[in-house]
């Protein structure tokens, strides 16, 4: 308990300080505050023109797509706040930036994640919220107790799945000694498998992103349950809980990989 309190007090202070240090760069913050929403909103607006022309995309109309994409971008925004550090961890590992964490009497993974929250992620969270609210309103999402619970589970699960993938692949640098600039690749993958309904892809592709890589669980499966859509897997209830469970399990595995990698960390040469 005392340990928990100790960790929480460090996390709280870290968060406050990260907020402060972002404010040290107001120009950059405002820049991203403009550019990130534009990126997501303009991208989505152009889809609108096409989908409305043809009416549906694999049986999803534009409003339903907005709901799906809203959930996806919201988990993206959350993952930017909590896991941006993992995108550049290859660089940090190569340049010995993790030395500091081994000098402190706390868990290294905790220091790695909580010690450097990215307040700039707000600029990604804003378009996420806009799209999410727009989606919820346009499909008339009902905030019943059950729906709300499912939604919270799905959002947490989706964020954790994203984080787990970034962390696990970022940790490979501990072994390979060369940074893997792969975060953009995964972001793209998460984006493409949750921006359009997975059911528009050939069955082999659907299979891969359902059972081999967990991408579609981030938003597509929970959203299709909410929308009552047929997909490769159709359950009467509980997709969101699978997303949450998957998120927790994958994140736990990613943490193990990180710890194993840090165990044989070699700092920066001499």
């Amino acid at each position: 308990m005392k340990k928990f309190k100790h960790y929480m007090s460090v996390a709280a202070l870290s968060f406050r300080l990260s907020m402060q240090s972002c404010m040290e760069y107001p120009a950059a913050f405002i820049g991203w505050l403009i550019s990130n929403p534009i990126q997501f909103l303009v991208g989505f607006a152009t889809i609108k023109f096409v989908v409305e022309e043809f009416e549906t995309l694999a049986d999803w109309n534009f409003r339903e797509l907005a709901f799906l994409y809203g959930m996806s971008v919201l988990t993206h925004g959350l993952s930017v706040i909590f896991f941006t550090k993992t995108w550049y961890m290859g660089w940090d590992i190569i340049h010995g930036e993790l030395d500091r964490m081994r000098l402190r009497p706390m868990n290294t993974l905790f220091q790695f994640l909580a010690g450097d929250l990215n307040f700039f992620g707000i600029t990604d969270l804003i378009p996420g919220l806009i799209l999410f609210i727009y989606g919820c309103v346009s499909v008339d999402f009902r905030w019943t107790f059950s729906n709300t619970l499912c939604m919270i589970c799905a959002l947490i699960g989706g964020t954790l799945i994203r984080g787990a993938i970034y962390l696990a692949f970022g940790s490979t640098t501990f072994w390979t000694k060369s940074p893997l600039h792969i975060s953009g690749f995964f972001q793209e993958l998460f984006n493409r498998t949750n921006m359009y309904p997975l059911s528009m892809y050939p069955r082999a592709v659907q299979f891969v992103f359902t059972f081999i890589m967990p991408m579609s669980w981030v938003a597509f499966y929970p959203a299709s349950e909410f929308m009552g859509k047929e997909s490769m897997i159709t359950l009467p209830y509980g997709m969101s809980f699978i997303t949450l469970g998957l998120g927790i399990v994958l994140f736990a595995i990613a943490c193990k990989i990180f710890s194993a990698g840090f165990g044989q960390y070699e700092s920066a040469g001499s």
């Binding site: 950059a28 991208g43 152009t46 023109f49 694999a58 893997l180 793209e188 493409r192 359009y196």
Partner: protein, 263 residues
């Protein structure tokens, strides 16, 4: 000239040094291409044509667009921004070769690298998934090639001019990001402009972006007759000349600024 060939060669070598990057980037591009291709296939569904373009033509459009963007390498942007930020621009400008020719040579090196490690693999993947992206006719193919080269010139000159903004005090990360997404959305690279509302389309035809992707691609899939294509090439050439003039002007200003203030 020898110096520039050497620079291009070095550039290919450095790119190769990042081998994992090279592989993942290639896979990423292939995935993106497949995703957009399947998007069109799904969205067309049973529909025959839309705006006079069939589903197959649209997939060809998408595939060729992705192949083009793998060759539209604009390293010049980051190079200038980095050089200004680190202050090395002043020493770079003293070197006895033209800085921008140097960056151009580097980009050509990148293009050659990309041709082998991106474009060709992507092409193979595209053929496997969607079949051969055939041009409307042999004539259209050659016209496309000319239009592609002009499109590259427009894109490069625009990027280089844009990068000279680095001399202002703003943080360029987000500005470049906005530019990237605008070019991506408004050039027809992802979605052809004929799907856009009339007013937006008219507005976009007044900007150079459509001449980077939309027009070369329209030529490729045969949206225009060969005679119309020549007209399009003319407009492209005009844009290129216009942008070059602006670029020269911006370059002169930047050079003067470096010489006077040291960056």
């Amino acid at each position: 000239m020898k110096a520039y060939i050497y620079v291009a060669k070095m550039r290919i070598q450095t790119m190769m040094a990042y081998r994992v990057d090279a592989w993942t980037f290639m896979i990423m591009q292939c995935l993106l291409m497949a995703a957009v291709g399947f998007f069109w296939r799904a969205v067309y569904g049973g529909a025959e044509t839309a705006h006079g373009v069939s589903g197959d033509m649209m997939i060809t459009y998408t595939v060729v667009s992705m192949l083009m963007s793998s060759l539209y390498y604009m390293g010049v942007e980051d190079r200038i921004a980095d050089a200004v930020k680190s202050g090395s621009i002043a020493t770079d400008m003293i070197k006895p070769i033209n800085l921008f020719s140097l960056y151009f040579a580097e980009d050509i090196g990148n293009i050659i690298f990309n041709l082998f490690f991106n474009t060709i693999p992507m092409f193979i993947v595209a053929v496997i998934i969607f079949g051969l992206p055939v041009p409307a006719s042999a004539e259209h193919f050659w016209l496309f090639l000319a239009s592609f080269i002009l499109g590259y010139g427009i894109n490069w000159t625009f990027s280089a001019t844009f990068a000279l903004m680095a001399f202002t005090a703003i943080d360029l990360g987000p500005v470049f990001s906005i530019k990237y997404h605008f070019v991506n959305m408004l050039s027809g690279a992802m979605i052809p402009l004929w799907f856009f509302p009339e007013w937006l389309r008219t507005a976009l035809y007044c900007l150079p972006f459509v001449y980077m992707f939309q027009e070369p691609l329209s030529i490729y899939i045969g949206k225009y007759s060969p005679a119309e294509c020549l007209g399009k090439l003319g407009i492209q050439a005009a844009w290129l000349v216009g942008l070059l003039v602006i670029f020269m002007f911006a370059q002169k200003r930047a050079t003067r600024r470096v010489l006077v203030q040291g960056g």
